[in-house]
Point group: C2
Chain length 195, copies 2
């Protein structure tokens, strides 16, 4: 058992290095996508040997999995006023994306790396968004899935055009302009009757 105080949380010297690697990995994955980012480049940013990355994270794929794990921090939809749902969601996510580009990295990678990260995006959106919206539709899972899918269609479209492709007309829009224009779309997908 070799006790050494037996504290369950034991500050290891390597924790700082691990964190530095993870930070560097996030930046590189955001900037260059999964294929483009290299272990060597990440290691250089963290001022460390590439072998350390392998030692602590096992493989590039596992490193990405940890660097790209993400929580959308979606609010509890049932507490929001039902008629302003679309607006609220749009504003919440826009705030998130403007300050944190992790999601952009995920999207980049999901598009370029096929199955590896596409599955992860599916987890986030089908998981977090779907289960979050599920409460709104009670037990009708089919309906919830369909409407959540449409919502995701519009939301990810904004991310793609604004942050990845950087289409000028979309980049030029003010955040509140986007909320005003796109919010009603989300609202309609959520609450409007079948067309």
């Amino acid at each position: 058992m070799t006790a050494t105080e037996e504290t369950p949380v034991r500050r290891r010297r390597s924790d700082a290095t691990k964190a530095a690697i993870l930070d560097a990995a996030r930046e590189r994955f955001i900037a260059e996508g999964y294929e483009g980012a290299t272990i060597r480049g990440i290691a250089a940013d963290a001022h460390i040997d590439p072998a350390m990355v392998m030692r602590y994270f096992g493989s590039k794929e596992k490193l990405f999995a940890l660097a790209a794990s993400y929580d959308l921090h979606l609010p509890d939809f049932t507490t929001l006023p039902r008629e302003r749902l679309g607006e609220s969601i749009m504003r919440h996510l826009l705030n998130l994306w403007e300050s944190d580009r992790t999601l952009v990295a995920l999207l980049r990678t999901a598009v370029s790396n096929e199955e590896a990260a596409a599955e992860r995006v599916r987890e986030i959106w089908s998981g977090q968004v779907l289960t979050g919206l599920g409460k709104l539709f009670g037990d009708d899972r089919e309906l919830a899935a369909r409407r959540a899918g449409l919502v995701v269609t519009q939301l990810l479209g904004v991310v793609l055009c604004r942050y990845v492709l950087r289409l000028p007309p979309v980049v030029d829009l003010e955040p509140e302009e986007i909320v005003a224009w796109v919010g009603p779309t989300v609202q309609r997908y959520l609450t409007a009757g079948e067309p």
Copy 2:
């Protein structure tokens, strides 16, 4: 001038090979993106040596440029009934995407290859879509750009979720369901008053 009949169009034996390479390149770029697709793989699909690809197309980038050129074949918007514009556009593009995945390849590449092909996507959407829609708004270019941007946001979102990420709820939708749900969104972005 070394005449040899001097016919302007002269069937060369290599034309078939060139076409085979281009076909294989399209498929590979669609399936694996720019970085993922390899000259060796493309050459194998075309049943020839990788060196032939270089001989005929010069470089991987030039090959991609030829393989990924694309025309959306947008209809003349001014001839469509104004109140069914969104529906028409959505149906037109959906038909296109269901049968031809070149656009998906472009999107993949634009994301993984950063500036090289992102510029190409901007050309297509800011060019073809913007100038197509420009006729609807007369001389107000600012307005046309903003509305076209919003439209592209929704349209590319559908492409992304349905064909690239393959989110189950979006894949399961019938084309006409998408037209019925998303068409009105496009319509609103085009014709509704400022929010």
